[in-house]
Symmetry: C2
Subunit: 429 residues, 2 copies
């Protein structure tokens, strides 16, 4: 059987599904050479049979129902690229496992929300679920973490994993535009999901972080444990002031194991301008993995789009064609631990921006609010007045999020503060 | 047998071997969880039994002869970290394959010079040779190229793969020191091989490039086909002038398939200052992989040292523990092609530096030498005289290496030129 073709059933013929069909056809010879056997599409399934997708579908069996596709005798691997974290995608994957098929999926939401159950099902059935395309598009980060760095005690995983948010933030900086303007531009260009909050609210990137954290720390995937904060509150002034201080603002995911449990954050952070993360422009993704004994590894590449996603899906398929087996989350699902959730447990410096009325003693009140909670000031800048208030930017010494939030609450109650202070963590990268 | 320990025999207890022992011990629990079975060291071999290496060896069988270690019944995987591309290392690997053992090695020279023969032997014996540690230290680039990007038609592989050279070049720039001064400093710090020409002559990095090219293009590894040029001719003036033009000088390896054959170059090049390669400082390595359909993937990390190298060796061991099988060069060795060697086949812009005497018509003669060979000038700068000659820097439009060399020869014969012109390719990255 080693040289028998591996037969794919592809559920979903959107951008990703079409990319997989195209790659399987265009690179058929080299895929067969590297995988040790031909890889062929035998069946497909999508909502509409008639839509012109720019590829010929005549050679493939057509199924209207993904579950029927998953159960076909001439399908070895069920490729789920429909999307959606409930209903059809999940049911079809379970049907495929039940029918003894391996599964390849690009569905980050499904894995982030139901990964543990799916992994238990797959492992009980002796089948594989592979999902390189679910995180950071074309970057082979699932493989790097679960195989290439398998001997490391991972200490931290970080990343910019939503290209649309990074596009918005870098475009605000380069063009000097407001968040609202760039958001509208990005919507017009089709860069954002139909529900843009999946992107700008950090949800999509949070799904990816939860998956990486499970692989990194041997914990059950726990999307509910991700502290989520979107980029909607970031102003052009924040971006400029961060720049003046030598930083860039990024929607950064960070997962690390602390003495109190697993910390998972997806929130706008300041990172040094001259770091690889700080230098990341536009829609590109970057994942930083730190471990012992390897040190720091940085992976960078396209995070979305037909080609990169198809590359990742097909890499999983090539692995299956070669007979490679791997536990869904890097080790058997029943051995994954349920880590306590540690909310911003580790202290860090913070960037604070507030609008201060021009009154005698105003700054002293702000300083007292911070001092009362044990938050000390590393750098402070007051800018020219805009209207009746002046922007003040404070960089604190390392403090816990708890102390900082108490100080912020106290500041918000001051009569000299005209708007709630913005607080952004400064991540040491 | 699935949960029986995987037993290692480690030949060589230098920095890398000690790192492998230490990692196998310190991370034993997580390695067992991820690999699905314990990984244990059963035997070791080195030149001196008495040297203090900071690790306890009492629990391991000792062999004086690596071949005896390779043949031990209680060794499943032979780990060759002795180094050297002839004699002992090669003989021991062949003995291990002959005895039915899989092999993990960090030996880039051996693979670059004898990889095809070793791959044929391993595949005839049905055994594995894995070598993640041979290229770019802790960066899982072998896995990325042969598995993570397996469905791509690779168009170009580039990289900074010798940390010592990158240290020298970035230190020259940051400290304003001459090549000779920084070279002496690096020797004193132990950053260079005992034969420093392996580093600064580009040989070590050339070995790595030849291995990557084989994986990328399905060709037999061909170190003899690498155009090699070291960094010894780079002056602080070149670094400064490149900087003024918006570039950095890097010892850059590039492999690409052209219409005339496989082009493999390891030579100092100019890359844009704001590119990931241009921003790479110090001893860090970076590999850039471009393919269809993925686009561009960039991998960055520590290229040498105990921890990074041990991480890579242990990743291969974890793969073997899981039962993963992979052809040595990504596809069966007998299917690898012998590509014709194409010397700098593709046109590129070049940086030229020459010392010009202060005589009327001098620049006209230089321009004529270029024009006569069809090389056109994109930018030109003449600097203040130093002594009786003035440095002139020329950036050409795209030209072939052949045309450029003819123009350089013509310039060298001019009476107004006081030293052979330096020519560095400007790589589009």
């Amino acid at each position: 059987m080693q040289n028998a073709p591996l037969r794919l059933g592809i559920a979903g013929l959107g951008t990703v599904g079409v990319g997989v069909v195209r790659t399987a056809q265009q690179n058929a010879a080299l895929i067969a050479a590297r995988a040790g056997r031909p890889v062929v599409v035998t069946g497909v399934c999508a909502r509409s049979r008639d839509r012109d997708r720019g590829i010929a579908l005549d050679a493939f069996a057509w199924e209207d129902d993904p579950i029927a596709l998953a159960r076909r005798d001439d399908v070895d691997v069920f490729v789920e690229v429909m999307g959606g974290h409930e209903g059809a995608a999940r049911d079809a994957i379970l049907a495929a496992l039940d029918a003894g098929k391996d599964v390849v999926t690009a569905n980050k939401a499904l894995l982030a929300l139901h990964g543990q159950d799916l992994a238990l099902c797959a492992e009980a059935a002796g089948r594989q679920i592979r999902y390189e395309a679910a995180v950071a598009g074309g970057i082979p980060v699932i493989k790097a973490l679960s195989e290439g760095l398998a001997a490391n005690r991972i200490t931290r995983v970080m990343g910019v994993m939503n290209g649309s948010c990074n596009y918005i933030l870098t475009r605000m900086q380069s063009a000097g535009l407001s968040y609202a303007d760039v958001f509208a531009e990005a919507m017009g260009l089709g860069y954002l999901e139909a529900d843009p909050n999946l992107d700008v609210g950090g949800i999509d990137a949070g799904h990816k972080l939860a998956i990486l954290a499970s692989l990194a720390f041997g914990t059950r995937v726990d999307f509910g444990g991700v502290e989520l904060e979107g980029i909607g509150a970031i102003t052009i002034e924040d971006i400029r002031q961060a720049h003046d201080l030598g930083f860039r603002i990024k929607l950064l995911g960070v997962a690390q194991m602390t003495g109190r449990g697993l910390e998972q954050r997806m929130q706008p952070c300041l990172v040094p301008s001259n770091s690889p993360l700080g230098q990341l422009e536009g829609g590109t993704n970057m994942v930083v993995i730190e471990g012992d004994p390897v040190g720091q590894i940085v992976l960078r590449g396209p995070g979305a789009g037909e080609g990169p996603t198809a590359s990742a899906v097909m890499a999983d398929i090539c692995d299956l064609a070669r007979g490679t087996r791997q536990a869904v989350f890097g080790q058997p699902a029943k051995t994954l631990t349920a880590a306590p959730r540690a909310r911003s447990a580790l202290p860090a410096p913070y960037y604070l921006r507030l609008m201060l009325q021009d009154k005698p003693g105003a700054l002293a009140k702000v300083a007292a609010s911070l001092g009362d909670e044990g938050v000390s000031i590393h750098r402070m800048r007051q800018y020219d007045h805009t209207g009746d208030a002046a922007p003040v930017v404070i960089v604190t010494h390392k403090t816990t999020r708890g102390q900082l939030d108490l100080a912020r609450d106290a500041m918000s109650r001051l009569d000299v503060i005209t708007a709630d202070p913005v607080a952004l963590r400064i991540e040491q990268v």
